[in-house]
């Protein structure tokens, strides 16, 4: 187990190096000279040279890459170009609000998705099943923007059930989570249903039925335990992406989270913030993939990590 973990961590290095290289090439080479961006429209040669020296972009590329790697390892990306706030502080303070929306959303989405998928799988092939699947396809085709605009207008602005915007208490979390749930439930349900149906046709299910177990026990104990493997993979590997994925909710509702920060950074060409978020989210994605593989063993004793 330990040997496996160490080897997997070792294998991450080339990928991580690739991510760092890709981000470096994007922002230091394709992105052009940041000095012109920072100095503003009325820049003289002296101030541009000054900014270039401060940022280290007058150095050769290999020195710049080394500076970038040092920044990543020491968690010190310097100051945000737009606000002058330290990037590490930006990341740390924006993580909380993002998680406050993300965790209840993921939890409710998974539980509801599993429950509905199991219920739907036990009536598979019927009219109900097909109608729900069609409804899911239609629900998935409506843009997330439309959900947010209509829900925010209808439930918050018109009916006044929730605050329209803002942050600062549990009441601000409810509507974003509800909208996130409305958007994500349809694709989740479709996916989980296919996972459950893959298992429901297996021999052990027939055996369980043959020995006289009730339908509920077959579905919720035997099938669920086996369908849990792809479901756990799905949930775990999606978590880091979700951190960014809620950017539309965060932007519409003014939640000071990571996703909104990225949008703001793109609008203001605040490269240090985007670089930092990209590198760390990529690292988190890889670590979560490893965690998922380790979790496999806990769920499925047949899996041997070699």
């Amino acid at each position: 187990m330990l040997a496996y973990t160490v080897r997997r961590l070792w294998q991450m290095l080339p990928t991580m190096l690739g991510v760092v290289l890709l981000v470096f090439v994007l922002f230091n080479w394709v992105g052009g000279d940041p000095a012109y961006l920072l100095a503003g429209k009325m820049a003289d040669a002296g101030s541009i040279a000054n900014i270039r020296r401060q940022l280290g972009v007058d150095q050769p590329y290999y020195v710049q890459l080394w500076i970038f790697i040092k920044q990543i390892v020491t968690f010190d990306f310097g100051l945000s170009w737009a606000t002058g706030e330290p990037v590490s502080q930006v990341m740390a303070t924006r993580l909380g609000p993002s998680l406050a929306v993300l965790l209840p959303l993921t939890l409710m989405e998974t539980l509801l998705g599993v429950a509905l998928a199991l219920a739907l799988a036990s009536v598979r092939g019927t009219l109900t099943d097909r109608l729900v699947m069609l409804a899911c396809t239609v629900a998935m085709s409506v843009s997330i923007l439309v959900y947010i605009i209509v829900f925010q207008y209808g439930l918050a602005y018109r009916l006044g059930w929730f605050p329209v915007q803002g942050w600062g208490g549990p009441q601000y979390v409810v509507l974003p989570v509800l909208i996130g749930l409305a958007v994500s439930l349809a694709p989740t349900l479709r996916l989980y249903r296919s996972f459950v149906l893959d298992e429901a046709g297996q021999d052990y299910v027939r055996t369980a039925r043959a020995k006289g177990l009730g339908e509920r026990r077959v579905m919720w104990v035997h099938v669920l335990r086996n369908a849990a493997i792809p479901i756990v993979t799905q949930v775990m590997s999606n978590l880091p992406a979700l951190l960014i994925g809620a950017f539309l909710l965060e932007r519409f509702f003014g939640i000071p989270g990571i996703g909104r920060e990225v949008i703001l950074a793109v609008e203001r060409s605040d490269f240090p913030v985007i670089k930092a978020v990209t590198v760390y989210v990529a690292a988190a994605t890889m670590v979560f993939n490893l965690l998922t593989d380790l979790l496999y063993q806990a769920i499925d004793p047949r899996v041997k990590l070699a």
Binding site: T137, V138, M140, S141, L145, V146, I263, T278
Partner: protein, 327 residues
């Protein structure tokens, strides 16, 4: 051919295909300038309501009228100039003889553009961006996947490394990072952003197909009669795996149409002056607060219809092309 016949037997797929074809035809006609070319004409009054909700027309017209007859401000030093300008404006409207209509088929926007024509024109942008970006992504994925799967060894290792980098960064973040770096906005930019970041899924599937196919007898036979590597890769194997690319193309096109709408909404997509469903939704957000719901409804309905038809068709296409369910 058998796949096509299977597809024809599927009634849902046929309806979806007809709807999809109608959307593509409209987009093509609009691109050719035959339909909705004059969407920028200000044919209606500002926020003209849709025809079927005409009852509101009277109130909006009457509220517009007093604004016209605003009394002159006696302290305004420009009062004479403004009066002259107003007279000029009035005579201009009179000479062109175009009276602004109080209602439009699907309503009007702030400037009095016809929302129906605007939706068609916006659809053209969104559909073209989605399709071209999907073509680009599938082309990159297919070439990389073919090289990787066919050559194996070091080439395979390199492309797998490249693939692992792109999948480690969530696609949303990747798209936003590239959008931040490419400063200029434009239809080509957004096609490049989506196409260059979306090749991973086709790559993985095409690579797996090539690994499976390169040891098949027909490829060995092609080798025996002296076909070059290039010819075996793209002349012999590619037609046999093209169904994977086709399904991927249609999955990606749906995803990219959605992505373009979101990017444009945020202001990272098509430039100002080009209309797309994303820019329409952006305008509609503010209009909704004023109770003008028709632009939102038009753009949202058109997009939902297209995406539903496209998704249903994709599902049917996958079922028809999947050799596993062959009867």
């Amino acid at each position: 051919m058998r796949a096509w016949r299977r597809l024809c037997a599927d009634r849902v797929a046929m309806v979806a295909l007809a709807l999809l074809a109608a959307f593509l035809l409209l987009a093509a006609l609009s691109a050719a300038g035959l339909v909705a070319a004059d969407w920028e004409d200000e044919v209606g009054v500002s926020y003209a309501p849709p025809l079927f909700a005409g009852a509101m027309a009277a109130s909006s017209v009457s509220s517009a009228a007093p604004a016209q007859a605003l009394p002159d401000n006696p302290f305004d030093p420009l009062a004479d100039d403004i009066r002259a300008l107003r007279a000029q404006l009035a005579s201009a409207t009179a000479t062109t003889g175009v009276a602004r209509r109080a209602t439009l088929p699907l309503g009007g926007d702030k400037w009095g553009h016809d929302v129906l024509k605007k939706t068609i024109k916006g659809g053209e942008t969104s559909i073209v961006v989605g399709l071209v970006a999907a073509l680009l992504a599938v082309a990159i994925g297919t070439v990389f996947g073919a090289l990787s799967g066919y050559c194996g060894g070091v080439v395979d290792d390199f492309f797998n490394w490249f693939y692992s980098i792109f999948t480690a960064i969530p696609s949303v973040l990747m798209i936003l990072a590239v959008a931040a770096v490419l400063q200029q906005k434009g239809v080509l930019t957004i096609v490049l952003i989506l196409g260059l970041t979306g090749w991973t899924a086709p790559f993985r599937l095409i690579r797996a197909e090539y690994i499976k196919h390169k040891a098949r007898e027909y490829v060995l036979a092609a080798d025996a009669i002296g076909a070059s590597h290039w010819r075996r890769m793209f002349h012999h194997i590619l037609p046999n795996v093209s169904h994977v690319a086709l399904v991927q193309l249609s999955i990606l096109a749906v995803g990219f149409i959605k992505a373009e709408v979101i990017l444009t909404f945020l202001g990272f997509g098509v430039p100002v002056g080009v209309v797309s469903w994303g820019s329409m939704l952006n305008e509609a957000q503010g209009e909704l607060l004023l109770g003008r719901w028709w632009q939102l409804a038009a753009a949202a309905t058109a997009m939902a219809l297209l995406v539903t038809a496209f998704s249903l068709f994709t599902d049917a296409l996958r079922d028809a092309l999947d050799p596993k369910v062959k009867p």
